[in-house]
């Protein structure tokens, strides 16, 4: 029953988008390619938002689970990138809402102070990542999408369902907060 439904859905998607879904024997190879192509991007955004490696691991798996479950047909690289970014953000939002998350927020700081990625980073980078973690969620999202993924204000607005002016304001406020958190480090960066 499920497979019939999925076939119907896939047929409909293919008709609408005029694209052909790969034959089953190639599907696994395509999954692998898509996972490899998007894994770093998904993981970085997840880590930037949920702040710990263990949680980023969970989000990472959840995102690709959704990918394989939904089998979206991408219309191009940009569409694929936008899909993964949006699904990662949605997974993070679900994660924040979970009662589990609410009960363990206090432990984050402990983990941050332990090793994690920080051992692999130089002092400046560790300070920067630490400062970004201190920003609120909405600011972390825009900062990461703007500076790492190099999305434009309009693209971020579309992805986050916010007005461009809101994104712009969040970006400005996030920069302002980072500036004050990184007073000393920025001086070093600039030099």
């Amino acid at each position: 029953m499920d497979s019939m439904r999925r076939e119907k859905r896939v047929k409909k998607m293919n008709t609408i988008k005029r694209m052909k879904r790969p034959k089953a024997q190639y599907a696994e190879a395509i999954y692998e390619e898509v996972i490899r192509r998007n894994s770093d991007m998904v993981y970085r955004l997840a880590y930037s938002l949920v702040k710990t490696r263990a949680d980023a691991d969970d989000i990472f798996q959840e995102v690709f689970l959704r990918y394989m479950q939904n089998e979206p047909v991408f219309q191009g690289e940009e569409h694929e990138k936008a899909w993964f970014l949006r699904v990662t953000m949605n997974c993070c939002k679900n994660f924040w809402k979970s009662p589990w998350m609410r009960r363990r927020v206090a432990l984050e700081r402990e983990e941050m102070e332990q090793c994690g990625f920080f051992c692999e980073l130089d002092d400046d980078s560790a300070a920067l990542v630490d400062a970004v973690k201190q920003l609120s969620k909405k600011y972390r999202i825009v900062i990461h999408l703007f500076y790492y993924e190099e999305l434009s204000i309009e693209e971020i607005a579309k992805l986050t369902n916010a007005k461009a002016s809101t994104v712009r304001t969040r970006l400005t406020r996030a920069r302002r907060q980072l500036r004050s958190l990184l007073k000393e480090e920025l001086r070093t960066f600039a030099e």
Partner: protein, 359 residues
């Protein structure tokens, strides 16, 4: 610079090879397809659970969970866990301030407060984002807050309440017992407007003048700028440091209640845009200026400096924004600003005294 540093820092953050391989292995084996229950769909179980919860729990929850708690829990679950409800209010100038809750630890406190028009009032002062205009504090018998910050949380249109999180710090630990939180002014009718700034007025040579800056800062250090733009250190003859800014339109020719572009020049590799904010003594008028390059990239200024010029009783607040940019044709660039304004400053006396048994 910041972009590069950010990328460099986050380049190191990648999933472990083990995790990626495990995921790919599971995908190959088809293990990642979620199995659906053959008997009762999970959605149906969840829906039934929700119905049961709604029928049995909502009246209890509604009666015991204050609105502010839901807001704070959404924005900062960590803070919500530590808040102690206060729920005491005070009315002044037709506006009721309520101290909703506090988290006090030694000499630091986070206080959640709300502001709303008095019930049945004909005035409509609180109807969106407002500002406390740095006029708040927390004190006990001997101790006053010395620094603080205020963050607008949200406006609840149903209740007509604007919520804030105020953070204060004092020199010494607060004594548990009687505490007083006070606010002296509220800035209403905050608005923001995006306007283009016409860069075609840019000149390539301009006179400068020395002013005494009231503030300066930015993402880069001063040493990155040409020497002529450094702050001149204080001397015996001139005890207040000075800095060189464009000798643009003078304060007397600027609007006291609006923004005026007073100068624009590209010299020594730095685009300088000078704006007068008018009289900001009783408003939070400020601007965020963005430079857009030929590729459409937008950015904030590298540094800025601000100062005041007096005309009679009025103090005009000036800003000069500096962008280090290799510009060949200014016509390839554009600029816009988000101009923030506030319409009405209401001065009042809102203070709430409450007891905190321990923390």
């Amino acid at each position: 610079m910041f972009e590069n540093k950010y990328k460099e820092a986050y380049d190191a953050i990648v999933p472990s090879q083990e995790l990626v391989e495990k995921l790919i292995g599971q995908a190959r084996a088809g293990k990642l397809k979620r199995k659906k229950s053959w008997f009762v769909p999970k959605a149906a179980v969840a829906a039934a659970a929700v119905v049961v919860c709604l029928v049995t729990a909502v009246p209890v929850c509604a009666a015991h969970i204050p609105a502010f708690y839901r807001i704070v829990e959404y924005l900062s679950p960590a803070l919500a866990d530590h808040l102690v409800p206060v729920e005491k209010s005070c009315t002044s100038q037709g506006i009721t301030m309520q101290v909703e809750a506090i988290n006090l630890v030694e000499n630091e406190a986070q206080i959640i407060i709300s502001m709303q028009d008095v019930q049945d009032s004909t005035q409509d002062l609180i109807h969106g984002e407002i500002d406390l205009f740095d006029s708040y504090g927390l004190s006990d018998y001997v101790n006053d807050s010395v620094v603080g910050g205020c963050q607008f949380l949200t406006y609840d249109a149903v209740e007509g309440k604007a919520y804030f999180q105020v953070s204060v710090q004092s020199d010494h630990a607060y004594e548990a017992g009687k505490l007083k939180f006070w606010v002296n002014s509220v800035l209403c009718d905050k608005s923001e407007e995006t306007r283009d700034v016409d860069l075609s007025e840019t000149v390539y040579s301009a006179n400068t003048k020395q002013v005494k800056p009231s503030g300066s800062g930015g993402l880069i250090s001063e040493e990155m700028l040409p020497d002529s733009m450094w702050v001149l250190p204080a001397t015996d003859e001139n005890p207040i440091p000075e800095t060189n800014v464009l000798d643009g339109l003078v304060a007397a020719n600027c609007a006291a209640d609006d923004f005026t572009v007073t100068g624009m020049a590209y010299m020594e590799g730095v685009l300088r845009v000078q704006i007068c904010m008018g009289d900001t003594w009783k408003s939070d008028r400020h601007v965020e200026l963005f430079l857009r390059d030929p590729d459409g990239n937008e950015r904030y200024s590298d540094r800025s400096v601000s100062w005041h010029e007096e005309v009679g009783e009025t103090s005009y607040h000036f800003y000069e924004f500096w962008y280090i940019e290799d510009i060949e044709e200014i016509s390839d660039y554009s600029m816009y600003g988000i101009f923030h304004n506030a319409g009405q400053l209401i001065e009042g006396d809102w203070n709430v005294t409450f007891r905190l048994e321990s923390y």
